[in-house]
Subunit: 272 residues, 2 copies
DNA sequence: ATACTGCATCCCATTATATGGGATTTCGGC
DNA sequence: GCCGAAATCCCATATAATGGGATGCAGTAT
């Protein structure tokens, strides 16, 4: 009975689904897979993701991915584009999020700070959150520069270490935890950009020294990013502030000024 | 082999999980159950729900509910209170919602209208959405009355027909669909209030006549509510505006004025 | 102190449920 | 109108999810 299946599938589906977790048989495989899909779709830019793309990213057979997707669409956690080829977040997802009071309060608390920063600096300012080994854009306000850059959108998810805010979050972790995290995301990196784990470690090292994470061309070509972690009461930071500008408008003076603004902003509200 | 199980469980678990849907074996039971739990928890007021409460509401064995809850907590879709006895929405849920662009845009579009209404009327104004057979509070702005009433919170979910906004949504449906909906929620009613299906039908009838849904003491004792549906381009309304005030401050003149404000508000933005 | 009650949590045999290979349909480009 | 590529559906199979029951844990009454 076993020999009919032969060699193929020898690894079975030992996916990294929820990144680090032990992935042992705890009777919730399907739900974890569904959650992975939701996270993946949320992480894509607004246009959505295709079935093939999702099934490959999460390492699921197309049948299984399709079945789960159909269910999530039925439940309105996802929505299908008119041509039924692309999946995006559904209304229910937002509705459920409206009831998540703690994070909502945090975003609201920092909203004014982000707005002020955008006004003062003139560039795009982000509130970035940490969610496991990923960073999430929680809020964004665009400044009034003539050349505006919008490298990422609210709700997008990326592995920690990609982008200035995410690097700041990584740098706020203990050496040990940081190394673990980098190692764990290393294998996912190729999907997002050509950045190497070594580059991330180097960026983190510099962020540790200066207190600011800088990035140039990591997220998108010709984009300069600057990030600071917002210290948590204890443990690694869960939030960071970052700004993005077109590299052509960046000067040393501007960077110095932005650093001052960011420092002020972080201290103004105090550790939450 | 069958006879060992005998009579008990003769119905098996023929739950109404996702309300109307056929609930046939489509290979997504666990995910649907998880979604039901998320919806249920989101629908509870902020303090959260207990395992027992959830397992009874969704009609799951405590073991199963516990296992799914544990998974959802692990995935940060839910969060557990410090004493581990109560479940509330988790951060990931909000993060995912941030990526749901369409509904977010709708809420943003109506935000100004809701704010103006709250200022003009002085009472609490809600933007209410329809999500299947439930209503969801999408946005709320409190006016400046001395006596403020906050009967429901943003993110809360209730069967359609409970509350003025939800009644307006129901009334905007075709006779047939409306009747189906009322019949389908009838069995869930006792969990939410003592309101009878007959009362809902009567409220809908009156809302159809006047264009406004009124409620008194349905949601909470001594609370007056007034709602209008926001007509959709086609089909039944998906959004409604409603306001809530303490019954003691309500007069016929006020109601007349509020109706004028609400009508204006709906027409101002035009059907979306 | 001791039993009791109500609840969350864990364990494990059982099978219904989710799975993935493969067939079928749909669609857009030649 | 044919051809590939992708989504969608079908169905035998065994794995993953299930729920009954045992255990643990607080708070309350005895």
């Amino acid at each position: 009975m076993r020999d009919r299946l032969e060699g193929h599938l020898s690894v079975r589906h030992q996916t990294l689904e929820s990144a680090d977790s032990a992935t042992k048989s705890d009777g919730t495989q399907a739900i974890r897979r569904a959650a992975s899909i939701l996270k993946y779709v949320a992480g894509r830019p607004t246009n959505g993701a295709t079935l093939r793309e999702i099934s490959e990213a999460i390492q699921l057979s197309r049948s299984t991915a399709h079945r789960i997707l159909k269910c999530l669409v039925h439940e309105q956690l996802l929505a299908q584009s008119d041509d039924a080829k692309r999946y995006a977040m559904g209304d229910l997802t937002l509705e459920l999020g409206l009831a998540a009071k703690t994070l909502q309060k945090a975003i609201l608390d920092w909203r004014a700070v982000v707005e002020d920063l955008a006004r003062d600096t003139g560039v795009t300012v982000y509130l970035v959150g940490r969610s496991g080994n990923e960073s999430v854009i929680l809020d964004a306000v665009h400044g009034s520069s003539v050349v505006r850059v919008i490298p990422v959108e609210v709700g997008q998810r990326r592995p920690l270490g990609l982008g200035a805010g995410a690097t700041a979050l990584l740098a706020s972790m203990s050496e040990e935890e940081c190394e673990q995290t980098v190692a764990s995301i290393e294998q996912h990196l190729h999907r997002h950009s050509s950045v190497k784990a070594g580059t991330i470690r180097e960026n983190v090292r510099r962020a540790r020294e200066t207190g600011f994470a800088e990035s140039l061309g990591v997220v998108a070509e010709g984009i300069f990013g600057l990030g600071v972690a917002i210290p948590a009461r204890r443990g690694p930071a869960l939030l960071a502030l970052s700004l993005a500008a077109h590299a052509s408008v960046v000067t040393d003076e501007k960077i110095a000024a932005w650093k001052r603004y960011l420092s002020q902003a972080v201290h103004r509200a105090g550790p939450r």
